[in-house]
């Protein structure tokens, strides 16, 4: 028997936190995840805007996509401040918990409506294609497209409902494949459109805004709110702003972006901006140049890009093939957006639940799958209800849509402005441009301009988009009340909450029988062991995360839970709140630096023995420690040296290990042979 195996029973038990949540992704993958949500609006935003205010819609979709660039930049500043950010965290920090709850309630509405609008839109594209097929085959059959879209939407949401309950989340591999496929189809559409324009010539769409009665909302009862001049432009802009939905995914994905995080986030934002501007903005614009306006209004408002494919210059069969490809690509990205909305809403609710503003009832873990099934049930039921209420009417869904995205962006941008004054010294990875430095404050002119545009649009939308206002206020109000009541109830039973047995599962803990079971997971050239103990003393871990390339080194972050009365065969004490807090801090740090780590929690009766035994068993090259406040660095090295000798005397197979102790500005090291 390997002596390392024989002796490793001294550890008693080894707990290993799942590493799945700590693997980091490239900016390409991050961009593909965001685009799967953000890019999907290309399939319906133009048609909805056209139905609201007529032929000028391409100009406004283009303007909204340009504005998306500014909003992406807002998110870059926000993510640069908070790795686990997003609207809730930013707003809570800047203007308090009540406003944060309001913002997150609005955002929940956005997430919840994203599912129905995407699923219904996919159903409509499929329905129109089916109708086309019936037409080609000569069947005299009036295919009920909207009813089909409704049932299709319900089926898609039900599918992802089940998938999410089972815990099959998003895969960035799938996102990359979908976005790549959509990009190819978009490129074909784009190239063929240019050829068509070259053959046929074109006329720019008129910049004339004609609001329908529906699109005016309550404004038709207000004399001074005539849709003319700047006011009219803002009203039309407000009807097009739904194309912005999906930006929050940037904040959700930021924690997973690999090192260097800010640089990669900026690249992600640039890719998302360029792709969505071309895809949603330019393709919608080109559609209006190629498809006669009457055709858009009567045939293609619900499936604009299918319409573009069918109206290109070329043989019918080729155009029809392209339409099939457009429907397939649209189906994939829109269906992907349904899943993203469910995963995003669930993630958001989990985030606020961690903050104690969602009742424990929602946090109940599914016995078999370990997912927060009650949250998923609430989201799925709400999404299916919305699909059924809309009966496949994408315009109605579009009317309701913008409320959530717009108000959450208003809160987010306002909060960033407030933070510039409230927390001027807070570490920011990047600043939104156009600032004037006064003393230590960067006065945010650029951010203020963005905020002004958002606020004016949001306020005008309150009046003109009455469906959005009524449904948004009711939905957000209900969620806000749930948060308020939950917070009160949770504060009364803090103890109960703390003692929940499934806390460990929420941390994705998995139990290993022996530390050697970790060995197959360590596949990189170097192995670095970083023992941690005190969440306030993680300088050495920061040093490792900043300096070590995780592509070539396995970084094992280890905490030893010490029990002096530990005996073989005796059940060891469970993981305590302190351990969980320590590991949460470690995970946050790893996310901040974008480095993959392997968190490891050991039980032992001697901290030095556990460190050196782990080092020997896992065949690490380096052990990097923080300084102990009670012992001092030299005494730590002495103990480690003695323990190393002891291990060798016990027959452990050892190889040279470099031990470093790092603290503020100093380093002490020794090579144990």
């Amino acid at each position: 028997m390997n002596p390392n195996q024989r002796k490793s029973s001294k550890f008693k038990q080894v707990f290993v936190l799942s590493t799945a949540m700590l693997s980091f992704i490239s900016f390409w993958r991050a961009a593909s995840i965001v685009l799967c949500d953000f890019g999907s609006s290309a399939y319906y935003a133009g048609g909805i805007a056209m139905k609201s205010f007529g032929a000028a819609f391409p100009w406004f979709i283009l303007a909204v996509m340009l504005f998306a660039g500014a909003m992406l930049a807002v998110y870059v500043e926000s993510c640069g401040m908070f790795v686990r950010g997003g609207v809730y965290v930013v707003v809570r920090r800047a203007i308090g918990k009540v406003m944060a709850k309001m913002a997150v309630s609005a955002l929940m509405f956005d997430f919840v409506v994203t599912g129905p609008i995407s699923a219904t839109s996919a159903g409509l594209y499929l329905g129109y294609l089916a109708s086309n097929l019936f037409h080609i085959s000569g069947a005299d059959f009036n295919f009920p497209i909207k009813i089909f879209a409704m049932f299709f939407g319900v089926a898609v949401i039900s599918y992802f409902w089940r998938k999410n309950i089972k815990g099959v989340g998003e895969s960035s591999d799938t996102n990359v494949k979908i976005v790549s496929f959509v990009a190819v189809i978009a490129a074909v559409l784009f190239a063929w459109s240019l050829y068509t324009l070259w053959i046929r010539g074109f006329k720019l769409p008129p910049f004339e805004i004609h609001f329908t009665e529906e699109a005016l909302g309550w404004a038709k009862y207000i004399d001074w709110m005539r849709p003319i001049g700047l006011l009219g432009i803002f009203m039309a802009f407000g009807h097009s702003i739904l194309a912005l939905s999906g930006l929050e995914t940037m904040a959700q994905v930021y924690r997973e972006i690999e090192d260097p995080k800010i640089k990669n986030l900026k690249k992600t934002a640039l890719i998302v901006f360029a792709a969505s501007f071309m895809f949603t903005g330019v393709l919608t614009f080109i559609s209006s140049l190629i498809i006669p306006y009457e055709q858009i209004a009567t045939r293609y408002a619900d499936n604009l890009l299918s319409g573009l494919a069918m109206e290109l210059h070329g043989p019918y069969a080729a155009r029809f093939m392209l339409q099939i490809l457009v429907v397939v690509s649209g189906g994939l990205i829109l269906i992907g957006a349904v899943n993203t909305s469910m995963v995003g809403a669930n993630g958001m609710l989990n985030r606020v639940a961690e903050d104690g503003i969602l009742h424990d009832w929602f946090r109940q873990i599914h016995k078999k799958y370990g997912t927060t099934h009650r949250m998923i049930n609430v989201i799925a039921v709400a999404q299916i209800s919305i699909v059924l209420i809309s009966r496949g009417d994408i315009y109605l869904l579009g009317e309701a849509y913008a409320f959530g995205v717009l108000w959450s962006l208003v809160f987010d941008t306002l909060s960033l402005i407030v933070l510039r004054f409230k927390d001027p010294g807070y570490e920011r990875g990047w600043l939104f441009p156009l600032n004037i430095k006064i003393k230590n404050i960067y006065v945010p002119l650029g951010l203020s301009l963005v905020f002004l545009v958002l606020l004016v649009t949001a306020v005008i939308n309150l009046v003109t988009k009455n469906v959005a206002t009524v449904s948004g206020v009711i939905f957000s109000g209900v969620f806000f009340m749930i948060f308020q009541i939950s917070e009160k109830l949770n504060s009364k039973k803090t103890r109960l909450y703390e003692d929940e047995p499934e806390i460990d599962e929420k941390l994705n803990l998995s139990r290993e029988n022996d530390i050697l079971e970790l060995l197959p997971k360590l596949k990189k050239e170097r192995r670095i062991l970083v023992p941690v103990r005190n969440p306030n003393n993680l300088v050495h871990l920061k040093h490792v995360l900043a300096a070590v390339d995780d592509e070539t080194a396995d970084i094992i972050v280890m905490s030893a839970k010490i029990s002096k009365i530990m005996e073989f065969g005796r059940e060891e004490s469970p993981i305590g709140e302190g351990d969980k807090d320590l590991f949460k801090d470690i995970i946050l740090l790893a996310e901040k630096y974008g480095k993959t780590i392997i968190p490891l929690l050991l039980f032992s009766n001697d901290p030095f023995y556990s460190i050196m035994q782990a080092a020997a068993s896992l065949k690490v090259d380096e052990v990097i420690l923080g300084v102990s406040g009670t012992m001092g660095a030299e005494a730590q090295l002495e103990r480690l040296a003695m323990t190393w000798g002891l291990l060798k005397s016990q027959g452990f197979e050892t190889r040279p290990v470099k031990v470093k102790i790092i603290w503020q500005g100093r380093k002490l090291s020794y090579e144990l042979n």
């Binding site: 012992m631 030299e634 005494a635 090295l637 002495e638 103990r639 040296a641 003695m642 323990t643 190393w644 000798g645 002891l646 060798k648 005397s649 470099k658 380093k667 002490l668 090291s669 020794y670 090579e671 144990l672 042979n673």
Partner: protein, 157 residues
């Protein structure tokens, strides 16, 4: 900071006259005091006995008893220029009050607190821990002669 591999033989710093067999009952403090008093005359020109005792006990707050029953009290002194050490082999042993381990051998190590010595100091601690296993200590205690003990350490190195 340089990483050094400063190997040094324990047998080269331990003198025969500093190896003691103690067959009376003795506790932890008495053992440390005994060894300190035996080493002290060699460095009496540099430090006082009280100071030396304080330095050794300061490190001992951290307790350096190994589970093999081997105890290594040690101190670093800026006043000395070479290693000094002494070994006590205890016939009856004593129970360490903190770890409840029965100690059968005690090695006092004094290291110069000067550049270049710390790496050697760590090497000595590591080697001592490796060589002084339970069986090794048992055999040493039974030897009865300091010269034989030193030879045994030499051959183990």
């Amino acid at each position: 900071m340089n990483i050094q591999e400063d190997k040094i033989a324990i047998s080269s710093i331990l003198r025969v006259q500093n190896i003691y067999f103690i067959d009376r009952k003795i506790d932890k403090n008495e053992t440390v005091k005994f060894l300190t008093s035996k080493v002290y005359p060699q460095i009496a020109d540099e430090v006082t006995e009280k100071y030396l005792m304080e330095k050794v006990l300061e490190v001992e707050k951290l307790n350096n008893v190994l589970e093999t029953g081997f105890y290594i009290p040690h101190a670093k002194l800026s006043e000395i220029d070479r290693f000094y050490c002494a070994l006590a082999l205890l016939m009856n042993g004593f129970e360490d009050p903190e770890s409840r381990i029965r100690v059968r051998a005690c090695f006092l190590l004094l290291t110069p607190h000067k550049s270049g010595f710390f790496q050697k100091h760590l090497y000595i601690l590591s080697r001592l821990s490796q060589i002084f296993t339970e069986e090794f200590i048992d055999r040493m205690v039974k030897l009865g002669r300091p010269r034989a003990v030193l030879n045994m350490i030499k051959s183990a190195e």
